[in-house]
């Protein structure tokens, strides 16, 4: 009952015209930031934070939160259209989303990510409304050993991102792990692989690397093809929206993606990027035709896009109930709340119920606004594909440069982007996948840090990973995931062996 009263109270707050206005501004800016490659929600929120000082705390936070989950909607757009993720969490969407666009199905791909995002976003707010306090306790039960085991499980899904050659995918994962180890070692404070270069002191930035591997390489590749040979994507007047068949195939992935994304979002640190990767792997595993993933399968768009939106909702739980930021964006929101004189954490619901319930209910309304905002844009985005490359590419380069530079205002990051751009170009020429590299680069540093922290906690004993139940569960799941395919393959091999002589006998 208390929850319903809270919700009612929240809607009273949000439905005030001024707050509706701020909510709209937030999701609008969020969509924009999501669509533009490189420009991330963290930078946008930090830039706009000072401009909210004059507003009331509720309005300010509603707007800033809107930018965050709005960016998750927009992020898929450029992934699908030009194979360049607008957001780190939309890297996976490139795989099947762009393949769909090449088949003239950009509309359904954009449509299913908008609907999937809306469903996942709304589901996650519903769960957030009813289960926030108990989920917060789950988040707290994750210490370094649990994170390590979770990351081990995360690394095992790498193999699902091999499209053709498993060896090549694993090689790229190794490169990713190496890239992830660049920079200051957080346990000893020593610098690794920095070669005295200041830009590398904090490691390779994820945004410059992604913009290079995906954005710059795509531009270089198309330059080589020449302007005469611009691919004309078929964009039929019909079929701008998902068909009934698309819906049938996407429903389960959206549901699974929502659940997965939400839980990974609640855990501080794990977040939307890993959620989108895990969702893709799960869909590939669950699919009857895993070999077709990467060729434009709608499940590969629906699942990850649902997952990253659900993760954005889940990330609010530790902030609102414990005062713990789950990621960089939440850390800025925490700062914003504190500047407005509010103390996020267990006391927020009592001390500032308008803010607590206002944020939650604003997400119901914001998600609806985003759907209304995004659906009419789909035909417009689909037409963007007809823009000649001579006009489109300079803009892409510009936004990639702005995006890479604006993270730390460091020219060095622009250079990192170009280095990875050339690397990404070569990788595309020789059929090496960039996705395993990114996943390994995200997971590697978290895994190493958690491993070494755990061993400090246990005074050097490895039993800490199996003595704690949650951690043991992840380790077991990872072991099963690695061993099961070996067993089934052995059976297949055995079958093949027994069938060969029979055939030759006939």
């Amino acid at each position: 009952m208390e929850i319903f009263q809270g919700l009612l109270y929240g809607f009273q707050v949000v439905l005030q015209p001024i707050n509706l206005f701020y909510c709209f501004i937030g999701v609008f800016i969020g969509t924009l930031v999501g669509v533009l490659p490189g420009l991330g929600p963290a930078a946008a929120i930090a830039l706009l934070l000072p401009s909210t000082f004059a507003a009331s705390p509720v309005s300010a936070i509603i707007m800033l939160a809107g930018i965050y989950y709005g960016a998750m909607y927009g992020g898929s757009t450029t992934s699908i259209l030009v194979n360049i993720p607008g957001e780190a969490a939309s890297v996976v969407t490139c795989l099947d989303g762009h393949a769909m666009a090449r088949q003239g199905r950009a509309g359904p791909a954009l449509g299913i990510s908008a609907f999937g995002s809306f469903i996942a976003g709304t589901l996650s707010v519903i769960v957030l409304t009813f289960l926030a306090p108990s989920l917060a306790k789950v988040a707290l039960s994750f210490g370094p050993p649990e994170y390590f085991s979770l990351m081990v499980l995360g690394l095992t899904i790498l193999t699902y991102f091999a499209r053709e050659s498993m060896v090549k995918a694993l090689m790229m994962a190794a490169v990713g792990l190496l890239c992830g180890s660049v920079g200051v070692d957080s346990i000893s404070g020593r610098y690794r692989f920095t070669f005295g270069i200041q830009t590398l002191m904090d490691g390779l930035g994820l945004v410059p690397v992604i913009m290079g591997l995906f954005g710059i390489s795509e531009v270089l590749l198309n330059l080589e093809r020449g302007k005469q040979k611009q691919e004309i994507f078929a964009t039929p007047a019909k079929g701008l929206f998902p068909t009934r068949e698309d819906w049938r195939r996407s429903t389960l992935p959206i549901m699974r993606g929502s659940v997965l994304g939400f839980f990974l979002g609640v855990l501080p640190g794990a977040g939307a990027i890993i959620a989108s990767f895990v969702s893709y792997a799960v869909e590939k595993k669950a699919s009857k035709y895993p070999e077709r993933f990467g060729t434009g399968v709608i499940e590969g768009v629906a699942g990850p896009e649902a997952a990253n939106n659900a993760a954005a909702g889940g990330a609010f739980i530790p902030l609102l109930t414990l005062g713990i930021p789950a990621n960089a964006v939440m850390a800025i929101l925490l700062g914003a709340l504190m500047i407005h004189g509010l103390q996020p954490g267990p006391l927020l619901m009592k001390q500032a119920p308008d803010v607590f319930w206002g944020i939650i209910t604003s997400m119901y309304i914001g998600n609806a606004m985003l759907l209304v905002l995004n659906l009419p844009l789909i035909p417009m985005w689909a037409r963007l594909l007809r823009v000649p490359y001579a006009i489109l590419f300079p803009f892409i380069l510009l936004f990639c440069l702005i995006g890479s530079y604006s993270v730390t205002n460091n020219v060095g990051d622009g250079i990192v982007m170009w280095v990875f751009g050339v690397l990404g170009y070569l990788m595309k020429k020789f059929d090496y996948e960039a996705a395993p590299l990114i996943l390994a680069m995200v997971i590697g540093p978290m895994m190493e840090e958690a491993l070494r922290q755990s061993l400090i906690l246990s005074a050097g004993s490895f039993t800490i990973f199996v003595a704690r139940p949650i951690s043991a569960g992840f380790i077991l799941a990872a072991a099963l995931l690695l061993i099961l395919p070996l067993i089934t393959r052995r059976r297949e091999v055995a079958k093949a062996w027994t069938s060969v002589p029979q055939e030759s006998a006939e």
């Binding site: 200051v184 404070g189 200041q198």
Partner: protein
């Protein structure tokens, strides 16, 4: 034709007189304030608030520019290498000027005392040693006693190697012989989270991150680096019988070395007013930050003392040779 020439002459004259005026008075163009932290960080919030006030006082725009990375050394180094005209200034902390120099001299390419012109101390964030409120010890001495009897049983989270909390823990260990284990995290929030989740026995962090948990009563302070108005009952080490205090985090304004005296004087005067502005004091208090102005000479004296003390701690703890 003549009219046109005359017009051009007038414009040229006006322009030259304007540039003449410009040369006389500082400041006459926008100043950029480099903050070596990510947007939204506590130090960034303080910097932005003071930049707004400085804009009003100096009557030119003071724009903040975030250059995070390398434990604040990247942004600090950028200002060391900037033009010495007073239009690039810096708000940085002891992490860059003291800890960074001592721990990683090879990657900290500046001399904190020679390469910067001090303009004034602005803000302090006390560092506090905290335990969960369900912990059995209510006094710092009880915890030290327990730690001595149970080596390795007290695991203390910090915001990372080379942070104020790390040095504070090394100092506490060397003063008390408690032998507590340091567990470094990437930033204060993950360390606070691990403490709340029961994965650590204690944490030693800047108050900003902790204030929400202190107010809700989830954690309890046992020792603090300097007086923090909202928590008057938490003692300093010297108040409970030790000879030295732990160091907190502080932020101070600097310009590159070799800035002219007039420029320095103008900046120092404006910074003093901005730091003492009551609305800024009130704004930063909930973030655990205490506005505590000190003039350049006093700032340098404190820096020298702290440098010596921290270098000694680092040598004792085997962090440097």
């Amino acid at each position: 034709m003549m009219k046109g020439l005359l017009g051009m002459l007038t414009v040229a004259l006006l322009l030259s007189s304007a540039s003449h005026l410009r040369a006389q008075s500082y400041p006459n163009q926008a100043i950029s304030l480099v903050i070596p932290l990510a947007p939204g960080d506590a130090g960034d919030v303080a910097g932005r608030a003071m930049a707004d006030e400085l804009s009003k006082l100096l009557k030119v725009s003071v724009a903040t520019l975030n250059k995070p990375g390398g434990g604040l050394t990247i942004g600090t180094d950028a200002v060391v290498k900037a033009k010495k005209d007073g239009y690039t200034i810096l708000l940085t902390s002891n992490t860059a000027l003291i800890a960074g120099r001592i721990l990683n001299p090879e990657t900290t390419p500046y001399d904190s005392f020679k390469d910067l012109t001090p303009l004034g101390m602005s803000t302090r964030t006390p560092v506090m040693f905290v335990v969960r409120s369900d912990a059995p010890y209510t006094r710092f001495q009880d915890l030290v006693e327990f730690a001595k009897k149970n080596p390795g049983k007290i695991r203390v989270g910090t915001a990372g190697v080379g942070t104020a909390g790390h040095f504070a823990l090394e100092l506490i260990n060397s003063l008390t012989g408690a032998g507590m284990t340091m567990v470094p995290f990437k930033g204060a929030s993950p360390a606070a989270t691990a403490l709340l989740g029961g994965h650590l026995e204690a944490a030693i962090l800047a108050i900003g991150t902790l204030s929400g948990h202190l107010q809700s009563g989830q954690v309890r302070g046992l020792v603090v680096s300097s007086r923090s108005p909202p928590y008057p009952d938490v003692p300093l080490l010297t108040q409970i019988g030790y000879r030295q205090n732990i160091h907190g985090v502080w932020y101070a304004f600097f310009a590159p070395a070799g800035v002219s005296k007039e420029v320095t004087a103008a900046l120092v005067a404006a910074i003093e007013k901005a730091v003492k502005d009551p609305s800024i004091v009130a704004k930063l208090a909930p973030l655990g930050m205490v506005q505590d102005y000190a003039p350049p000479e006093k700032l340098v004296t404190e820096m020298r003392e702290e440098y010596q003390a921290v270098e000694e701690i680092a040598k004792k703890a085997g962090l440097v040779k």
